[in-house]
């Protein structure tokens, strides 16, 4: 397999280091431009299996607000983002909602849960 160079911007923290990644297919040979070791980890993950957090909202019946924000407990494979979002669109929770309540367990077989990111009391 040919050796390639890919330019990436690390998204781990607000610094946004510009990385130059030398890799052979999904195997990373060298990373340049990072300011901490998370940059190397990010480059390896991004080249082999790019992942992103799922951040959205789901409906709540009888809640203080109509929606509650939710997040994946860790980043999911990019290809799973829209399938998971479609699943979440069908969810309707019942108030009151707890902090970090599981909304979708093992989302699309990733082994990753989607949980609420705030408590939501019932409507007054």
């Amino acid at each position: 397999m040919a050796v390639e160079t890919t330019k990436l911007i690390c998204i781990t923290c607000p610094l946004g280091c510009e990385l130059k990644v030398t890799h052979e297919g999904k195997r990373v040979l060298e990373v340049e431009g990072h300011q901490c070791k998370r940059g190397v980890e990010y480059a390896q993950q991004e080249i082999s299996d790019p992942r992103r957090m799922i951040i959205t909202t789901v409906r709540v019946k009888g809640g203080f607000h109509a929606l509650v924000p939710v997040r994946s407990t860790e980043p999911v494979p990019k290809a799973k983002i829209f399938p998971i979002l479609r699943k979440l669109r069908e969810v309707e929770l019942k108030a009151p909602v707890e902090m970090h309540q599981v909304v979708l367990a093992n989302a699309e077989g990733t082994g990753i849960d989607v949980v609420t990111s705030r408590p939501l009391p019932a409507a007054n």
Binding site: I11, P14, I55, T56, A66, P69, M99, S117
Partner: protein
């Protein structure tokens, strides 16, 4: 009108206000009140449902609501009093806050120190003077964010976003997640104005077409936005004729900058720096008005919420210390008066809070001699505080009586302290 006194009043319960209230409490301030116009504490963090918060302070990647939750819980723990759904109408240079809510009606809050934590506002369409019609469908990005994330409404289906600030980029992804199409992101600068990580995970990831060195030069549509016209700009940011492109869409979002929100500050006589739009502050975050502090985006707009929190801690701690000092120096004054058969009493006025530090002595002389046992009585608004027996009293002999710290509760709420001589039967 409900009238209250407090050590520290914080206006706004976003990250700056929450941190300020917590820090004031932790510095030893007694009554710390946080005033929030929305129905719950947390401010704009509650609509920032994305992650990326807290990496500096917690070394964790939190969403906005999770970040806010930690401070809301901490504020409850330390006993911060929250007035939500309450709108501040006025703030005077003497730190009197006039506010209004449905439960209490008008409220006057007399604060020993105030922390301004009102955050910032989005620059609106009017500030850009974009030619065209005034149809429905033009929103600031933050307003759209609130509609989508809190209230559950989609403001449109086909979007153009003007400006590549963080809120604009985050909304591009958010709207894509909700099934909308972002037709174009338009930025007048030759580079993206928000964080690079947001450019990657919000714009590149979802193939949002980004046009640099362009701006919106016309809004089409009478009742509803039908299209916007985008033009390239020259090095002086002026649109270049002949480069116009019509982009069909139903909604235009503006993400074109934030301005510190200082209408209340101005009412209190706080001087503003024309460069930042926020108050001039010293190293304690105190403004030119003594006892009025400011923290967070109300001072200048920060990149990271973690830094806003740190500014809040700094302002809150100093506001707390200011209030405590102020309470010590200028607590309420009681008049000390001479009652039956008392000629005069020294001291003439008395700060009840001084008893918290040490016992205080009253010194006085009687008018007429009594050659029989008497009670010397100290009363607060007619209620007995302390009494002492003497076998006789004579004008030539000064009498002394000490009030101790335990007496504080009996005189704290009184207006007047009196000393009188009562003959024993």
């Amino acid at each position: 009108m409900l009238e209250k006194r407090c050590d520290v009043a914080v206006i706004g319960s976003g990250p700056a206000g929450l941190a300020a209230a917590i820090a004031a409490k932790e510095a030893g301030a007694q009554d710390v009140v946080i005033i929030e116009r929305d129905v719950e504490l947390g401010g704009i963090l509650l609509q920032c449902v994305h992650n990326g918060f807290g990496l500096e302070i917690f070394k964790e990647d939190l969403t906005g609501p999770e970040y806010a939750y930690r401070f809301i819980e901490r504020a409850k723990e330390v006993g911060v009093e929250a007035l939500v759904d309450t709108f501040v109408l006025d703030l005077t240079p003497l730190r009197e806050i006039y506010a209004i809510n449905k439960r209490d009606g008008m409220i006057k809050l007399d604060a020993r120190a105030v922390v301004l934590a009102m955050g910032c506002r989005e620059r609106p369409r009017g500030a850009l003077a974009i030619p065209g019609f005034r149809p429905a469908g033009v929103y600031t990005a933050g307003t759209a964010q609130r509609l989508v994330n809190i209230e559950g409404y989609m403001p449109g289906e086909r979007f153009v976003i003007l400006g590549s600030g963080d809120i604009g980029m985050i909304m591009a992804r958010r709207l894509t997640f909700e099934g909308a199409k972002v037709e174009r992101m338009i930025e007048i600068l030759p580079y993206v104005s928000g964080l690079r990580r947001n450019y990657v995970q919000c714009v590149l990831d979802y193939d949002i077409p980004l046009q640099l060195r362009h701006t919106v030069t016309f809004v089409k549509g009478h009742d509803r936005v039908e299209a916007v016209v985008s033009s390239e700009v020259d090095e002086n940011w002026q649109p270049i004729p002949g480069t116009e492109e019509t982009i069909p869409c139903d909604t235009l979002l503006l993400s074109v900058g934030l301005i510190p929100e200082n209408e209340l500050s101005k009412k209190a006589g706080v001087q503003l720096d024309p460069l930042t739009g926020g108050p001039y502050v010293d190293e304690t975050m105190q403004t030119n008005v003594p006892g009025i502090f400011a923290a967070g985006n109300v001072v200048h707009v920060y990149d990271l919420v973690d830094w806003v929190t740190q500014a809040g801690y700094l302002a809150g701690r100093h506001a707390g210390e200011y209030a405590i000092q102020r309470r010590k120096e200028s607590g309420r004054r009681l008049r000390v008066v001479a009652g039956d058969n008392v000629h005069h009493v020294v001291p003439h006025v008395f700060d009840p809070l001084s008893l918290e530090r040490e016992p205080q002595e009253l010194q006085f002389r009687v008018r007429h001699p009594v050659e029989a046992p008497v009670w010397i009585k100290v009363e607060a608004d007619g209620k007995l505080v302390k009494q002492k027996k003497e076998r006789y009293v004579r004008p030539s002999e000064m009498i002394m009586l000490k009030l101790s710290p335990e007496d504080y509760d009996k005189i704290a709420g009184a207006r007047e302290l009196s000393v009188r001589v009562e003959e024993k039967e």
